[in-house]
């Protein structure tokens, strides 16, 4: 029985090969020492690095510098504060609330989107009818402008006239009806529902793409062995899609930490600060309150958070793939 878990290797780095096959490879490819890259190899990174440096890195430096000042974002007078803004952040109750909201948002949205996307992709890989239609329907929210999603969210999850509440009335659960986005206890989660509705399509698409790589024989061999459908999915397919999962998680975490559009366009952070996330709080500070230095400090905190999370997940991914090898 082929050990299906070995077949897809997450590391293609040829230099890792040892022994006779390694020597052969090195001979064939003409690399003096396969563990080293020739300078030309780094050239592959050049286009990406160039564009990213040109447009974004100056921005990161700009924010680091601005975060050290008390500045209104417009005029050139600013007062040096050193770590003043950061100290204030630590004491800021509203910041803590937006941080909490952001973390909840991250965990919930990444978890649900990953699981839903995977499930839908697996289901779709069976002999299903109307595949084209269904996958197009699932993708529709993803290609819709967030402005539309925000409006639909306010309307459908609105108070008395909202479609969700009307539905609840219809099935006799009228007691559950409430203004989902207007009540602090439910607002953030209602927004999450809208967000997940919007992006499940892409998650599904990614997993579907990853599943196309799955070697049919590998799966059939496992199935022949008597593994049931759900077992196969979990034991076989999910590990194969491991790198997709990791990418989705890393991306999901980074993107969700800086969630802005859907929150801003739907509730604006309200009621109060019930749905305030780091990006909307930052926007408030920078543009409404004209405290650009403080806002810059918040962005740096955000970047650090994202960095920590990414490093963590990349390391995890590395470990998992080494384990599997």
């Amino acid at each position: 029985m082929a050990d299906v878990r070995e077949a897809p290797d997450s590391s293609l780095a040829v230099g890792r090969r040892s022994g006779a096959p390694g020597a052969l490879l090195r001979f064939v490819t003409g690399r003096p020492r396969l563990n080293e890259a020739v300078p030309a190899d780094y050239a592959y990174l050049l286009p990406a690095a160039l564009i990213v440096c040109l447009f974004v890195y100056y921005g990161i430096y700009f924010n680091i510098e601005a975060s050290l000042y008390d500045w209104n974002g417009l005029t050139s007078d600013r007062y040096f504060l050193g770590a003043g803004n950061y100290e204030e952040i630590v004491r800021d109750r509203a910041f803590r609330q937006s941080l909490t909201n952001t973390l909840i948002w991250s965990v919930v949205s990444v978890a649900v989107l990953t699981v839903l996307g995977f499930l839908l992709a697996v289901l779709m890989s069976m002999e299903i009818r109307f595949k084209s239609l269904i996958s197009s329907l699932i993708m529709i929210p993803s290609i819709t402008a967030t402005v539309v999603v925000a409006f639909l969210a306010r309307k459908i999850m609105g108070g008395e006239g909202g479609e969700i509440n009307q539905l609840l009335q219809l099935v006799g659960l009228g007691g559950l009806a409430r203004a989902w986005l207007a009540e602090p206890a439910t607002a953030l989660y209602a927004l999450l529902v809208a967000h997940i509705w919007q992006w499940t399509g892409f998650s599904f698409l990614l997993y579907f793409a990853a599943l196309t790589l799955v070697n049919r024989e590998v799966v059939e061999a496992a199935v022949l062995d008597g593994a049931g459908f759900w077992r196969s999915s979990w034991d076989i397919l999910f590990p194969i899609c491991r790198s997709t999962t990791f990418a989705l998680i890393i991306l999901g975490v980074i993107q969700s930490l800086k969630t802005f559009d859907i929150v801003f366009l739907t509730t604006g952070g309200g009621p109060g600060r019930a749905t305030e996330v780091l990006s909307t709080y930052l926007f408030d500070k920078a543009l409404l309150e004209s405290r650009a230095g403080y806002a810059a400090a918040i962005s740096i905190v955000l970047v650090v958070l994202a960095l920590v999370a990414t490093v963590g997940f990349l390391w995890l991914q590395q470990r998992k793939s080494v384990d599997a090898a």
């Binding site: 990174l45 069976m126 402008a145 793409a209 802005f260």
Partner: protein
């Protein structure tokens, strides 16, 4: 490739998927009903026949096309390098290329503005293409990299046996296999560039260089009240090209690519 499953499982799955399709599509019915306000189907006609539309669409196409070209090329090259080549400091380099994702766009609008002005690109389409590409490359890099990590090593080894160098491996062996992820990347990048709102707002001042995401806001009743019917009709129509793109490229997703490649 189809997974084998019992008829019962199949039926449940079919039902679930149909339900999912309905759940994802149903709210759009509300959107369509809003789009019909005031003029019914003629709203859509009004939007399409707006004299500015063709120019807006063309500009958006240029922006989207330019962004896709830049992003896909840069991201594919870089992703391949990270996965297939023994780069030193791979982790830090990867982090450096992903880090741009981590900063909220709102925080870097001003620095980008300063940069764009310094480069003399204000009011030109590259002023929009550049930043969008810069913020999308990290995403595509991660996705393509993860996709490539799923490619069986045996395929690459076989290529090396045949004597191909790194670029040839990429071009002739991997690229055909990457169709699914390239499809996803193209659709995603197109979507991002097509729907981008704030960058064109700030950098493209002349009406001639405006993009299509700006179109809906012009349909107003007065300066503070939007004409929702026309705006929604415009928003829905604007999302049609992305849908068409997705449908067109879908076939590349369905065909199993590796079955039989390795015997």
């Amino acid at each position: 490739m189809h997974l084998q499953a019992s008829p019962a499982t199949l039926r449940i799955s079919q039902g679930t998927l149909l339900l999912a399709g309905a759940v994802f599509a149903a709210p759009m019915l509300v959107a369509i009903s809003v789009a019909m306000r005031g003029g019914g189907v003629t709203n859509f006609v009004t939007v399409i026949t707006d004299p500015n539309m063709p120019r807006f669409m063309l500009n958006s196409l240029i922006v989207a096309g330019g962004t896709i070209a830049v992003v896909l090329t840069s991201a594919t090259l870089a992703a391949y390098a990270f996965v297939a080549l023994p780069l030193r400091w791979a982790q830090p380099l990867l982090l450096l290329l992903i880090a741009p994702l981590m900063i909220p766009p709102a925080s870097i609008f001003l620095p980008i503005f300063i940069n764009v002005r310094a480069l003399g690109l204000l009011n030109t389409l590259p002023a929009v293409i550049g930043p969008i590409a810069a913020l999308t490359i990290p995403v595509m890099l991660l996705l393509i990299r993860s996709f490539l990590m799923g490619v069986p090593r045996s395929i690459l080894d076989a290529a090396k046996m045949d004597g191909s160098n790194s670029f040839q491996t990429l071009r002739f062996i991997l690229l055909p296999m990457m169709k699914p992820i390239l499809v996803v990347s193209t659709v995603w990048t197109f979507l991002t560039a097509w729907n981008e709102y704030f960058l064109p707002l700030v950098f493209l001042r002349r009406v001639e260089s405006q993009v299509v995401s700006m179109a809906p806001k012009y349909f107003t009743i007065d300066e503070r009240t939007p004409n929702l019917g026309l705006q929604f009709a415009a928003l829905l129509l604007i999302s049609v090209p992305t849908l068409l793109l997705f449908l067109y490229f879908r076939r590349h997703l369905i065909r199993p690519v590796t079955s039989g490649a390795v015997k």
